[in-house]
Amino acid sequence: MSHLRDRILGDRVALFGLTVIAVTVLAALFAERLAPYPPDRQFFDGLTLEGAPLPPNGRFWLGTDLLGRDLLSRLIFGARTSLIIGIVANGAAVAIGALLGITAGYLRGWIGTAIMRFTDLMMAFPALLLAIALAAIFSPSLWIVALVIAMVNWVQIARVVYTETTSLAEREFIEAARAIGAGPFRILLQHVLPHLLPTLLVWATLGVATTVLLEATLSYLGVGVRPPTPSWGNIIFENQTYFATAPWLVFFPGVAILLLALSFNLVGDTLRDALDPTQRGREP
């Protein structure tokens, strides 16, 4: 564990990612206290006389949107949306993927084949289009969006876990456990699962990046989180017609999405290098 801590804290890039994640988590947790204004408040003086959004200024640090609302406050509350979906959707995806991957990898046989063929099938669908079709069929809410993302994102995790479980299942210590009479449930829980934890940790971290991007894209296309609930994607969706005259309305939420996704990718990649025993001791 201390090895892991040194790896991440000693790596400037990973440290940067960790900082961005920490700031976003704090913003999401304390949004009410941190945001200068309520996210839905429309300011009479938040628009120019012609009714155009205000650029960043002393009163509205990041400017206002097309309804005269404070962009910074909406971004801070939007962090909550992104993180809730990031954690719920990705958590569900990891759980589904791990469960199916372990089951298929340990049982093999026709159940394993059936699960993995189904995984292959899901790999053939373009994730975004499938999510759009699902989101268009169910009327979207925060939880439906999270569910839809989980339904398309579990696939890769299932494959990785499957591959690792099949190689673990052939190892001697598993055979030993079986020889002393441990049942399959106990073997999976006590002997296989602990070995999968590093992999799951890496994919859970990387998966948040994918999830954040998918949520933003769905919201941008109008099938994700619906206004007035602020999400970084739907802020851009609402304001995109103004982008030529008010580019900050695309720029700031865009940078927020990029930074959060990038940070989870950077931390996940560092974790992968640190936790992969075959990489240990190698030069970077």
Binding site: V13, R117, F118, D120, L121, A124, F125, P126, A127, L128, L129, L130, I132, A133, L134, A136, I137, A209, L213, A216, T217, Y220, L221, G222, V223, G233, I236, Q240, F243, A244, P247, V250, F251, P253, G254, I257, L258, A261, L262, N265, L266, D269, E283, P284
Partner: protein, 307 residues
């Protein structure tokens, strides 16, 4: 080898049948009743009943599915709820634009990714290498709609170098293709870098160096071919990313491809079009994967015709 190809083809057919099943379930899950949509509100019960029979909705589910599969095999993807046109006709008229966009994107992602990857590998461990790797992560972490809108803002609105969206000339293609190509470029930079580093470790490179070959010659004459071919052979796997990306990029730039068609269908909840585009995209992905699997062993003899 023939066994390998037959197996791969069999798997592809299996997946295609699975795709038809999943999309059928999707269509069946739609809460909106298509009969009501076609008949309108003021229709008499007799009209509703006759339309239901016409559409075959009175048959048992498995017969409905077989009819659906039969229609799919004949290239019939159903009718749009709103435009009343054949979905297949709509998609066919939009497909060339999307293929053009993909060709541009593949060209740009290889150009960006391979050159960045080669350079990073030749500067391994130095600041330039680190910078390229962080940049490649940024490229794969950037939401495409934001990249698209910002490129449009800087290069079309502010600088006026390119047209503000639309379709027609090669100039119209540059920004949309670049938006897609940057994402792919990020992946290729990483793959190319590790492929290059792997090749540069080989004995024959050491021999070449010992015989006095220059850095440039080693990189581009000896290493590049072996490192780049397997990487380039993976282009077939990109189709999935591009199909999803096309929806976003085409809606940002007003590019008249199947992505924009899907986007317009989303706004009107025209589900037959959304499902139709999903089917076409899934078939394209299956073919792309098949191509990548069949091509790889020919390009890189170390990959055996396995399984």
């Amino acid at each position: 080898m023939i066994g390998y190809i037959a197996r791969r083809l069999g798997q592809a057919v299996f997946i295609l049948i699975g795709i038809s099943l999943v999309t059928y379930v999707l269509v069946y899950l739609i809460p909106a009743d298509p009969v009501r949509q076609i008949a309108g509100r003021s229709a008499t019960p007799e009209t509703v009943e006759s339309i239901r029979r016409q559409l075959g909705l009175d048959l048992p589910l498995w017969q409905q599915y077989l009819r659906y599969l039969g229609d799919l095999l004949q290239g019939d993807l159903g009718r749009s709820y709103i435009q009343k046109t054949e979905v297949a006709t709509l998609i066919a008229s939009r497909l060339p634009a999307t293929l053009e966009l993909m060709a541009g994107a593949i060209l740009l992602e290889l150009l960006i990714g391979l050159s960045a990857g080669i350079y990073a590998a030749s500067r391994r461990g130095r600041p330039a290498d680190r910078a390229i790797m962080v940049a490649s992560f940024a490229a794969v972490s950037a939401p495409q709609f934001v990249v698209g809108i910002l490129l449009l803002y800087v290069f079309a609105v502010q600088l006026g170098w390119f047209p503000i969206g639309g379709y027609g000339t090669l100039w119209h293609l540059v920004l949309p293709a670049l938006t897609l190509g940057l994402l792919g470029g990020g992946w290729y930079a990483r793959m190319m870098r590790s492929a290059m580093i792997e090749v540069l470790r080989q004995d024959y490179i050491v021999t070449a160096r010992a015989k006095g070959a220059g850095r440039f010659r080693i990189l581009f004459v000896h290493a590049l071919r072996n490192a780049a071919l397997p990487v380039v052979a993976m282009v077939g796997l990109d189709i999935g990313i591009f199909m999803s990306g096309a929806v976003v990029v085409e809606s940002v730039y007003g590019w008249p491809g199947i992505g924009q068609l899907a986007w317009q269908a989303i706004q009107r909840v025209d589900i037959p079009i959304i499902v139709g585009v999903t089917i076409v995209a899934a078939v394209a992905i299956v073919l792309g994967n098949l191509l990548a699997d069949l091509v790889a062993p020919f390009i890189d003899p170390r990959i055996k015709f396995r399984r």
